[in-house]
Amino acid sequence: MTGRRSNEPFFWSLFSGGGMVAALTLPAIAILLWIAIPLGVLPGPTHERLTAVVGHPLTRAALLGVIVLSLFHWGHRFRFTLYDGLQLHHLFGLIATICYGGAALLSLAAAYLLWSF
């Protein structure tokens, strides 16, 4: 079973990096920004305040990292979930294209968004 080494390790590295980043950052972001603040449990930052924080180049770089890695984490994991969970062997290429392609497109959108913030 010899042959060219697959390029799967690259996608797996995005998946595992994304998984770690998502695991460490997303719960805090979700609880804070989408539950605690909208519920009024915690006072939200003013628009000015938040714009300043997000506008900082380091924050923008960090956000880009979190978003892109999370997207590719989803792409890789969901691709395998569809492939194994529904046994769609014949659609291997199509599923991969949709998942990674979708992640790539959204990543470009995020990059543009954060670049022009």
Binding site: G18, G19, M20, A22, A23, L24, T25, L26, P27, A28, I29, A30, I31, L32, L33, W34, I35, I37, P38, L39, G40, L42, G44, P45, H47, R49, L50, T51, V53, V54, T59, L63, V66, I67, S70, L71, H73, W74, R77, F78, F80, T81, G85, L86, Q87, L106, A109, A110, L113, L114, S116, F117
Partner: protein
């Protein structure tokens, strides 16, 4: 007598993997739930992008976005998403010691140490997020 059987040519029985194999054992169901949390991760990334976009369009658009977040249906959905994200985090961190084996001489670093390091990292990063937003 089974007419289809040929002597000396055994017909081995191969079962077909059922489509819903993952419903057959609870451990598989947990596995699929864990894998489906990737959808929560996708959602979170997209909402984060939407929030940044709303922020960039100005005060009014950001205010409307925050109002939308407060809508009971949206809030309920986001709570479910949050639970999924927590499930992702816990299952991911709990599996870390299996993949990261650090040897010290004859012994390997106990799983508890690797686990503790990861959970501490989670707390630290969460603290940074809260500080960044709340500051």
């Amino acid at each position: 007598m089974n007419e289809g059987y040929k002597l000396y040519h055994p017909k081995w029985h191969r079962r077909r993997m059922p489509i819903f194999w993952w419903l057959r054992r609870f451990s598989y169901v947990k596995f699929i739930f864990r894998e489906l949390t990737s959808l929560a991760v996708l959602y979170a990334a997209v909402v984060l992008m939407a929030q940044i976009w709303a922020l960039s369009r100005g005060e009014e658009s950001y205010r409307r976005f925050t109002e939308l977040l407060g809508h009971p249906l949206v809030l309920t959905f986001n709570v479910c998403v949050c639970l999924a994200l927590l499930f992702h985090t816990v299952t991911w961190l709990n599996l870390a010691p299996r993949a990261l084996v650090v040897r010290l001489g004859q012994r390997r670093l106990p799983d508890a140490a690797i686990l503790a390091a990861h959970y501490l990292a989670w707390i630290a990063v969460s603290a940074i997020v809260v500080w960044g937003v709340g500051r």
